[in-house]
């Protein structure tokens, strides 16, 4: 679960990391009032849970309250990567002398957490990582041993922090580590970590992502979740325990197991189709889960056809079939549905679906071909053999 910048900063501040004075506003009048109260130039920052906010124009500076109000009007209601900006953080603008990057995340390959510090903070840290990785100092953390100050200092030396700020950096790194552990975080990041013109150290931006698997024991942050933060269909899916991601195509996909669903998407695109979504019903899905899956996929107005691809292990094909029948009893499906059932209780599942007006396929490949052809007949009846509707970057193949 991702936290908003203002939420992450509240947490940092609670753990004694200096943050700029700031307040959250939901309309431009409030922004005016906050800027007037601060009596200084302010930064107005969109609070949306995606990266690249600055480059999308979601962060603006203003010299006075009037200016702040008009800037806020530009940002509020803006669409950033599909999410509408509903609130902004208004902060005192910082005088920046130097920008660092400091963060902790998990390194899959090392199978450990890693703390990172770089003197090249700011928006282009990814480019730094790519072209000059030696400019990012890294420290892998042993989960079973406490973190010692000398270890943190080794990072600080590696990142050329001015000596007069060493003590501040050690304290902030220590706080980040405590937050990372205490919140079951998969990411805690300050970028930029600013050394101001006056020589103090302060968090310019903050990002925290909490491990979803640990939310059951993180009641303090799970309350931060807001309805507006997600695509409505993705939200409905999550409430049903389904993993759903909306894509731009027109063929709805339902399958079991992330790897199989991804491969089904790949197969459909290789046959010239365009997947409308990723939907994994998970292992051992019962009929009610499958019913919910079909309801969600068919409620996407772009969907012109649906492909259900199940290889039963713990998941039983008869449970899947019953879920489909239950969904169809109250849904009026207006597009073709191709299903492929293999594995546990395959025969029972096929028998149940045999009575409905659906199209069986013997393999994933056949099913993918079938649904792509059927959707093409519906959407472009004149030219069935037209070019693929989905634009797959050539370098992928």
């Amino acid at each position: 679960m991702k936290l908003h910048e203002h939420q992450a900063k509240d947490i940092l501040s609670h753990y004694h990391v200096p943050i700029p004075r700031g307040e959250v506003a939901r309309d431009s009048r409030e922004v005016y009032a906050i800027a007037q109260k601060f009596g200084k130039p302010v930064a107005i920052k969109a609070q949306v849970l995606v990266g690249g906010r600055g480059k999308a124009g979601g962060v603006k500076l203003a010299d006075n309250p009037d200016h702040a109000e008009s800037r806020a009007r530009e940002i509020l209601g803006m669409d950033i990567k599909g999410l509408m900006v509903r609130k902004v953080l208004v902060e005192e603008a910082l005088s920046i002398a130097q920008e660092f990057y400091m963060g902790i995340t998990n390194d899959r390959t090392a199978r450990r957490s890693v703390m990172m510090l770089s003197a090249m903070g700011g928006m282009d840290i990814e480019e730094v990582a790519h072209s000059t990785p030696e400019k990012i100092a890294k420290l892998h953390l042993d989960p079973n041993r406490p973190l010692a100050d000398f270890q943190i200092r080794s990072l600080i030396y590696g990142a050329n922090v001015p000596p007069r700020n060493w003590r501040d950096f050690v304290a902030i790194a220590r706080s980040l580590h405590i937050i990372f552990t205490a919140l079951d975080a998969s990411l805690v990041e300050i970028n930029p970590l600013v050394i101001t013109g006056e020589g103090s150290v302060i968090a310019g931006d903050a990002k925290i992502v909490v491990d979803d698997n640990a939310l059951y024991r993180q009641s303090g942050v799970s309350g931060f979740q807001e309805k507006a933060d997600e695509d409505p269909l993705e939200q409905r899916a999550r409430e049903k325990g389904l993993h759903y991601v909306r894509l731009s195509g027109n063929i709805g996909i339902i399958g079991n197991g992330a790897g199989l669903v991804m491969t089904t998407l790949d197969q459909v695109s290789q046959e010239g189709g365009a997947p409308a979504n990723f939907l994994d019903v998970g292992g051992g899905a019962k009929s009610d889960v499958v019913k919910a899956a079909l309801e969600i996929v068919s409620s996407d107005p772009h969907v012109e056809g649906i492909f259900v691809n199940i290889f039963g292990g713990i998941t039983r094909c008869d449970d899947v079939a019953n879920g489909i029948i239950q969904a169809l009893s109250h849904l009026k499906l207006e597009c073709p549905l191709v299903f492929r059932l293999s594995g546990t209780n395959e025969a029972e599942g096929k028998k149940i679906l045999g009575e409905a007006n659906l199209i069986p396929a013997a393999s994933m490949q056949e099913g993918a071909r079938r649904i792509v052809d059927l959707v093409k007949e519906r959407t472009e009846p004149e030219s069935i053999a037209a070019a693929p509707a989905y634009d797959v970057p050539a370098e992928l193949y």
């Binding site: 990266g51 963060g103 199978r111 990411l187 990002k207 992502v209 640990a214 292990g313 490949q365």
Partner: protein
């Protein structure tokens, strides 16, 4: 032969009295797995499907002679179950449980590595040595004995591939599902090292996916070891995640995409199948090459 487990392996099921644990214990027994003990704290002294249940893994080792474990314990307690198995001296652990907090796994994986334990998973389908034994949830009927090893990060996709191989007459030695979580016990390379030493395994199928860069490490190892490998990757058109922060990009970088993984394998001359149905075609080729080499 094969790797990790065989028909002699004596298995303890941690979480045997739970719904999943009990169901899959039944399936494992049916496949021929020697399930010698179960562990559920508080239910010691009872039996499940005729298997004696103990309170601790230590007892399962002392009284049941267990030397491998499969874990079906619910997520909040599963990492502790791994630590208990490691402490009891078990050297092969398959952790099936999905949804374990990552911070718990960081500690459990560390303990496994420090003690020379092969921890498979978590969030994995387990291990099958075809015709001999299975630890986990893979459907037994799709396997057939042969000379192909398989390592995969995925569950159902593995069944799909195994099924296709079996239908094509390409039997298997051992199939290992290493799990889909960010922090896992054994990596591709850890398992490849075992396959290299197994005379029965003549070729290996490696099924990777988007995320992480373990596949690139594996590719370098394959190249060095000269092990015949065919790779397949899921997630060519996977959606770009709405990621936040830069840390992920700094750690994994552009290497996390399927395109980068395919490129890494092709550059080293390792065949990559474009669809799962092409895996068998590449396998026939590498197996033929290997046989021709052996004849020379």
């Amino acid at each position: 032969m094969a790797i990790l487990v065989n028909r002699e392996t004596r298995v303890v099921v941690q979480g045997i009295t739970g719904k999943e644990g009990e169901f899959h214990t039944g399936q494992m027994l049916q496949y021929g797995t020697k399930v010698v003990a179960g562990v559920t704290p508080g239910k010691g002294g009872t039996t499940a499907l005729g298997v004696p249940v103990y309170n601790t893994v230590k007892e399962a080792v002392a009284k049941g002679g267990a030397n491998a474990s499969v874990i079906f314990v619910p997520a909040p307690f599963a990492a502790d179950a791994v630590l208990e198995a490691v402490d009891a001296g078990i050297k092969v652990i398959a952790c099936i449980t999905e949804g374990i907090p990552v911070h718990d796994m960081l500690k459990a994986v560390q303990a496994a590595r420090e003690n020379g334990v092969y921890l498979i998973g978590p969030n994995c389908p387990g291990i099958v040595t075809a015709g001999e034994t299975k630890l986990g949830i893979m459907p037994g009927h799709i396997f057939s004995q042969g000379e192909v090893g398989l390592i995969s990060r995925s569950g159902t996709l593995t069944y799909e591939v195994v099924n296709d191989l079996t239908l094509a007459g390409l039997g298997q030695t051992t199939c290992v599902g290493i799990g889909g979580d960010p922090i896992i016990g054994c990596t591709f390379t850890d398992i490849l090292k075992l396959f290299v030493q197994d005379p029965q395994t003549k070729a290996v199928v490696l099924i990777g996916e988007i995320g992480g860069t373990d596949e690139q490490d594996a590719a370098r190892f394959v190249r060095e070891s000269q092990l015949p490998v065919v790779a397949f990757f899921a997630g060519r058109v996977a959606p770009e995640g709405k990621t936040m922060g830069h840390a992920g990009a700094i750690v994994g970088g552009k290497g996390e995409t399927v395109a980068a993984k395919i490129e890494a394998f092709k550059q080293l001359g390792i065949p990559v199948a474009d669809t799962i149905y092409e895996i068998k075609i590449h396998l026939w080729e590498v197996l033929n090459k290997r046989r021709a080499g052996a004849l020379r």
